[in-house]
């Protein structure tokens, strides 16, 4: 469970997150909102790239903001980025193994854990293949494998399906859905693809201009009139 309390982030003149209080109970949670709503800023606060002006974030009872940024991975925080960031020069195996190495997980189980994660995401390429030679879909899968290896507690996925065709997005959705039960991790999914969000997420929170405007069971949230007006409504106006 992740509890966010009064989280406020200010950049010069802009307030990307304004007094946000929300609870991500577990399973797969969606985080949606129009462009510039503060979703990625929220992830950056969790990763430690952005220091909030005030507020608190507790993950399973631990004060996340008190931890040094690079130590959060060892605590169990994983994330992917909007632009895919698998390491081109390394093999698929090494890409996943390097996360395991810094996660504090046991060295003796490294090979098995890494191969498990690669099998879990359904990657058919040989583990020795260099990521530089892979296509968009495989790279996204490598990223997800990196996010689930080494006993994660919280997995942040930032638009994991960006740029993928519908059919591949569906396959990715199936993988994401299985993360909580397979690895016992809480998943927070940011995406603009409502099909993906409703397929994966039991609960969803909605941000608009840095403010939380709704949260709760995904189906209810997507019917909420504030949400429709703020987010989905923009399409109707066009």
């Amino acid at each position: 469970m992740i509890e966010v309390n009064g989280l406020t982030v200010r950049f010069a003149g802009v307030t990307p997150l304004d007094d946000v209080s929300v609870v991500f109970p577990g399973g797969t949670c969606g985080l949606i909102g129009p462009n510039g709503a503060g979703k990625t800023t929220f992830f950056n606060v969790l990763s430690g790239f952005v220091r909030p002006a005030k507020g608190a974030v507790r993950g399973f009872g631990d004060d996340l903001l008190a931890m040094a940024d690079y130590r959060r991975a060892r605590w169990g925080l994983r994330r992917t980025f909007q632009t895919e960031m698998a390491i081109e020069k390394l093999s698929v195996y090494d890409n996943v193994a390097m996360i395991h190495e810094h996660s504090g997980a046991k060295r003796s189980s490294r090979r098995a854990d890494v191969l498990d994660a690669i099998a879990f995401v359904g990657l058919e390429t040989p583990p020795k293949a260099k990521v530089g030679g892979l296509g968009a879909r495989e790279r996204r899968l490598v990223e997800v494998a990196r996010a689930v290896v080494g006993s994660p507690r919280v997995v942040l996925l930032d638009e994991p399906a960006a740029g993928l065709p519908d059919e591949q997005t569906e396959q990715l959705a199936q993988v994401i859905q299985k993360i909580p039960e397979q690895f016992g991790a809480l998943v927070i999914l940011v995406d603009h693809d409502m099909t993906l969000v409703s397929a994966c997420c039991q609960t969803t929170a909605v941000l608009d201009f840095g403010k939380l405007i709704a949260s709760g069971p995904t189906a209810d949230v997507l019917r909420n009139e504030h949400v429709i007006r703020a987010y989905l409504g923009t399409e109707e106006e066009l």
Binding site: S47, G48, F49, D69, Y70, R71, R72, A73, R74, L77, R78, R79, F81, M85, A86, I87, E88, K89, L90, D94, A97, M98, I99, E101, H102, S103, R146
Partner: protein, 350 residues
Amino acid sequence: MRAVLRVERGTIVRGVVIVGVLAVALFGVPYVAGADWITTSTSIAIYTVAALGFGILYGRAGMISLGQVALLTIGCWIGTRLSYATSLPFPVLLLAAGGITCAIGVLVGLPALRLSGLYLALVTLMFAGATTIVLSVNDFPNGGGGFSGRSATGALATSTPPVRRPSWAIADVAFYRYTVIVCAILFLLALLHVAGKPGRAWASIRESEPAALAAGVNITLYKLWAFALASFVTGVAGCLLAAQVGVPRAITFQTQDSLTLAATALIGGIFSLWGALVAGVFQQAIPFLFQAQWGINPNFVLIIFGAGLLQVLLTAPGGLADQLPKDLARLGRLVASRVREQADAEKKAP
């Protein structure tokens, strides 16, 4: 048990090539080379290590340092001073020079925690320039004894004793072999790093620092580690250089050498350890060929390096170490297909 015996083809090929190159370097070169080529070959071996340091920093961790020859000079200077001041055995001298250069290299690397790209390149180049100035002001040993190595008269005394070599490698050929073996050990040290946890952490830093942070990589630690390793191997190589030339003089070390080293390292290829070998040959053998063998002004070498660098940056970012095997394979296929055509044609002809 079958799994234990199963070794991949690539690993076997690589092993055979490594043993082959070492055998040629240790036994082939001394057999055919004259005295001048032995000296040049020793320099080649030493500069491959300097290029290796550049490759670790830029090719692996993505930090461009133009001060690598300055670190080689510092290793050389420390080796020389320690040789005069102490009676330490040569291997200890090597380790001490490596260790002290390592400490200085880490200090030089501190700006890398805040700067990158062009700015880091400039700062390290300034460091190289400053090193040249400090050394020419203080001069290399000019005949005095002790750690300072200075005599009051200031003029280079003819009695300046050369930096000692290991007792069983006094002769040039023996010292050349000694150098090759030490350099091979340094390459092995680099290989162990690159293929292990540090190498993977460096690759992730090179790809994206935010992603590396999110992966739990302590960026400060691994960046300084890269500088420490690169400086250590370069410092050891510098000490070898001191013993090779005997009486090093400040004038032999120019700031521009750091630039040509960067150029040759890029031509050789910074993503492969083989690239460092190519770089060492380019850096030392080509100027020697131009000047001593063909009597051409060695400054023309700069034009060749410039053209080579342009070609690499435009068409082969992996450098010669990456391109040559590909080209050889292509040539092999071409020859094979020609031979087949020829055979077919002969079959058809009665």
